[in-house]
Amino acid sequence: MTDEDARLVRAAIEGDEDAFKTLIERYARMAAAIAYSVTGNVEASRDLVQESFCDAYRSLRRLRSTVKFAGWLASITRRKSISWVRAQARNKVQLAGGHEELVAAAGEAPPEDAKRAEVRARVLSAVRGLPPGYREVVILRCLEGKGHKEICEALGISAAAVDKRLTRAKNMLREVLGDLADE
């Protein structure tokens, strides 16, 4: 994957826009997972993913190691997302993460029964309650279906660290969502 990424990055640097679009197809979901894990806000996350890719495209030549595109993009997205959260805090805007906002977010989905919406709100609220490092791993894995190797590349941590964070995160979620997990 990383060799292919390196080839695509070099092609994009040389002006092949399709190569960069392939990178977008490959990593947009990952970037969205990271942005959402930091902001907890769907629309902001989508905007931040867009901005991150635009920034990455403009500064592609500065990427020191073309095989590390995923990790580089992840760090751009995370940095932008943290800035967004800080800006929101400065503006004293209530950050997403409250139960009501999650219900509202769930309400944007196609109509479904109230119980399912409530379950979703509870699960998302529980995920938001995880420590940031754990939350990022859980969202990357569950939103994107990423394996350990891809998560390692995106976050720049070891496979053992990914496994540990995932295990602990799932234990925490199991404690909070006990009844749902047992159903």
Partner: protein, 216 residues
């Protein structure tokens, strides 16, 4: 727990997956981001490689000409001629090795040309930085001494001569390896930057040692 990939039979993982999926976070995202990518003209670096190359060549030409006009006084016309010849040989070697690199990797087409361009751009950048550093040193000397220390500068130039040749060859070697590696589709540029940095350090040490010998 925590197998290699997403496990839909794990109740917790499935619950989180379904909940996140219901947010429609990534619906249409690829199309949206693709449409927002700026046109090619907007992604040029702040200083275009060609401009950097131009600056580098100009700076190098100034440095070389400043060096050459002093040489007859220092070394005599015969020595100057030999240095001009040496410079021509080195230029020929550079152009020749670049041509060989292009010929060897001509099947790589644009990739090889891009690699050559990047390598030359890197060399020009180094030349520019070196010239700026030299100008800064001279400026500092003038500020401290009230005049240009001609004897010291001449000694410095003599000291730098052999060091500069060493540095140039290290940089050329790094550039040649860079061309070869990039054309082969590998990316070891960080390692090559290390080689370049090591070359600079070696050249600086050699320069300082030579300088100490000349002024002793």
């Amino acid at each position: 727990m925590g197998g290699e990939a997403f496990n839909p039979t794990d109740k917790i993982e499935r619950l989180v997956h379904e909940s996140l999926d219901g947010l429609h976070l990534t619906d249409g995202l690829v199309e949206r981001v693709s449409a927002a990518i700026p046109p090619r003209t907007e992604m040029q670096p702040s200083l275009h490689p060609a401009l950097r190359l131009g600056f580098g060549i100009t700076a190098a030409a100034f440095a070389v000409s400043a060096w050459l006009v002093n040489l007859p006084r220092i070394y005599g016309a015969g020595t100057v001629a030999s240095y001009v010849g040496l410079t021509a040989i080195m230029l020929g070697a550079t152009i020749g090795s670049t041509a060989i690199a292009i010929a060897i990797f001509r099947e790589a087409g644009a990739r090889a040309f891009a690699a050559v361009r990047n390598a030359l751009s890197g060399l020009a950048g180094n030349a520019l930085v070196g010239t700026i550093a030299a100008a800064a040193l001279l400026g500092t000397a003038y500020f401290l001494l009230g005049s240009f220390p001609a004897d010291q500068i001449q000694a410095g130039l003599r000291a730098a001569r052999s060091s500069a040749a060493t540095l140039l060859f290290v940089l050329l070697a790094a550039a040649a390896v860079q061309i070869w590696i990039l054309a082969r589709g590998r990316d070891w540029r960080p390692a090559l930057r290390l080689v370049e940095a090591a070359g600079l350090v070696v050249a600086a040490i050699a320069c300082a040692a030579n300088y100490a010998i000349y002024i002793a």
